[in-house]
Subunit: 268 residues, 3 copies
Amino acid sequence: MTSVITLLTDYGLEDGYVAACHGVIAGIAPQARVIDVCHLIPSGDVRRGAAVLAQTIPYLPPGIHIGAVDPGAGGARRAVAVDAGGRVFIGPDNGLLSWAVRASGGARAAYEISNAEHFLRPVSPTFHGRDVFSPVAGRLSGGLEITDLGPEVPVDRLVVLPEPTSQLREGCVEGEVVSVDRYGNTQLSIAAGDLHALGVQVGDTLGVWLGRRQLSLPYRETYAAVPPGELVAFADSAGLIAIAVNSGDAAQRLGLPPGAHVRLSPTP
Amino acid sequence: MTSVITLLTDYGLEDGYVAACHGVIAGIAPQARVIDVCHLIPSGDVRRGAAVLAQTIPYLPPGIHIGAVDPGAGGARRAVAVDAGGRVFIGPDNGLLSWAVRASGGARAAYEISNAEHFLRPVSPTFHGRDVFSPVAGRLSGGLEITDLGPEVPVDRLVVLPEPTSQLREGCVEGEVVSVDRYGNTQLSIAAGDLHALGVQVGDTLGVWLGRRQLSLPYRETYAAVPPGELVAFADSAGLIAIAVNSGDAAQRLGLPPGAHVRLSPTP
Amino acid sequence: MTSVITLLTDYGLEDGYVAACHGVIAGIAPQARVIDVCHLIPSGDVRRGAAVLAQTIPYLPPGIHIGAVDPGAGGARRAVAVDAGGRVFIGPDNGLLSWAVRASGGARAAYEISNAEHFLRPVSPTFHGRDVFSPVAGRLSGGLEITDLGPEVPVDRLVVLPEPTSQLREGCVEGEVVSVDRYGNTQLSIAAGDLHALGVQVGDTLGVWLGRRQLSLPYRETYAAVPPGELVAFADSAGLIAIAVNSGDAAQRLGLPPGAHVRLSPTP
């Protein structure tokens, strides 16, 4: 099938958990190339995991993509393999994979991962990444058919995470903070295209409402277009509007957590 | 010999130290696949390094396994290569490797790493990972015999770290906190099998003594079996009893550092 | 050309940014081996990035070396590819690459990276690592000529970062703190050779001036040569004098930030 396997987890880097997954894959599929997408998803933060996976997937070669952010591990949720756009996504059916599946063109077929002959034995109820997802990915990489994993799941029964909302209105566009990166850059759910549809161009000034607060921010091509310490809005590397402070931390300065409501409008 | 080389260190990820090891290995043994086990072992914490290595090793393909947590680097401790269960462990003879060697079936033979013709020159007294362990691993991967590294060391002279104690008594089992992971899950030295030998089954309530404090905790298959915020005991992915808070931090809640004494018993 | 590509960035590990670079390279140059040099360079800290790259480069196989610490991304700075000592360095022309280029024997030729047919489209103004440097590195690895990237840049027009100063005087040597690692070891710009030229030998006591403070420190082969908690000076793994506390944090103890002035002399 394919020789690329990618891993996104909330396992952190302070233990051997990620290495155990690499080791299991290397033992089963020595020919596979493993790419770490991210292992510092905050513990159990399915939304953050979904966002990072969906925004990275367009830059990863087609392959087998494991997602393991799984606060319900060992509980009732099922594990699934989803065929989408020439890729196979593997993980818990808790919405984690849903945005990346959509970014890959939508699910073509899905299968419950239930055939235990492809798992390590015993399966730790709390470490499906090592005992279920990694060996299954290795075997798929070696030629196992996805249909051998378990019964088919109708694609409209897959758990889908609600997308961050964004709404183009008369004269403004409303959205929310999707995520904050380690620079403090605050990514909104508002596509650059929606802002441009309102007539905003690079070089203009934006009206920004954060709850009841109102700001005017320069809209530029990048944060480097304003002096250090100044606020700026720009289209980020995912095509979404971000609010940043050049060489500073906008999320902290503005007190903007993920989920906070934001409204943008052209300044007349 | 083998084409897998693994690395466990306390070098951290903020410098180029780990990359220098990767580079040295890639230059000498371009065919080798390098797997990072962990580089965030707390500085000089040999016990933590030993625990992470021993718990990960069953999931790594047989290979050459470097351990570099070495507070005595440049001092009197010797460097060793230990042949155990089809694997070769390389590192300081300070006990770091001892639990992984035992988990691999025990040492079959050991050699002092003293033949400087296999090292980088000059050897930095503070960076044997780069200048000694990495080139030696690369050369072993390329076919060098382990017997060429230096004089044999009797395996009963290797430094062995005391294992965390656990004792099955009449009606209870005593042990200690082995380690705390980034979720705050507290791993005990008590094997699930010992608890089951007392008649405890998943679904029961456990009596837990922490010093003079006594708690009753549900014993479940996983932390997800209790509501968020509640304490639970379960058999973790290494087969040891862990105390956790679902979506919370048990080590912080209970004030349980590594080494703390714990006693478990069935609740009548 | 070469099959090794290395990556040094300030992207951090909490997002999918590094993975996107790996993915782009794997898609274009599946044969290339990618080595991560460091991704935790403090955001925008070009000097720290330059120091880590220059001190690691002697241990990396010849290859294509990407540096992306780029506070001016999207601004006026140009991107360059520099041919030096059988290696190709790729990154912003902001001095980041300059110390590694010097450590590799100096620039033989340099080219502006301006030929957009080798880039991803569209190019995000804030993520040249993914959209410019990674695809260009992949294509060079696949055989593209460096001369195809854009117009030649005279090597004496490349931005060069001022090196940390060090001056051998009558009876003393002056320098500055270059960097502080995660152990709190404080690396000075003073080469061990300069200290030895003053007649200092391992085993001697050093006079150390930190501004107006004066200390006497043992000069030893390694930090392990003094009892835990004690200060010591030694030649570090880069051949530079470092001040450390055995099992402690010298930078914190002495209040020594990067750039602080230090003078060393033999104690009579």
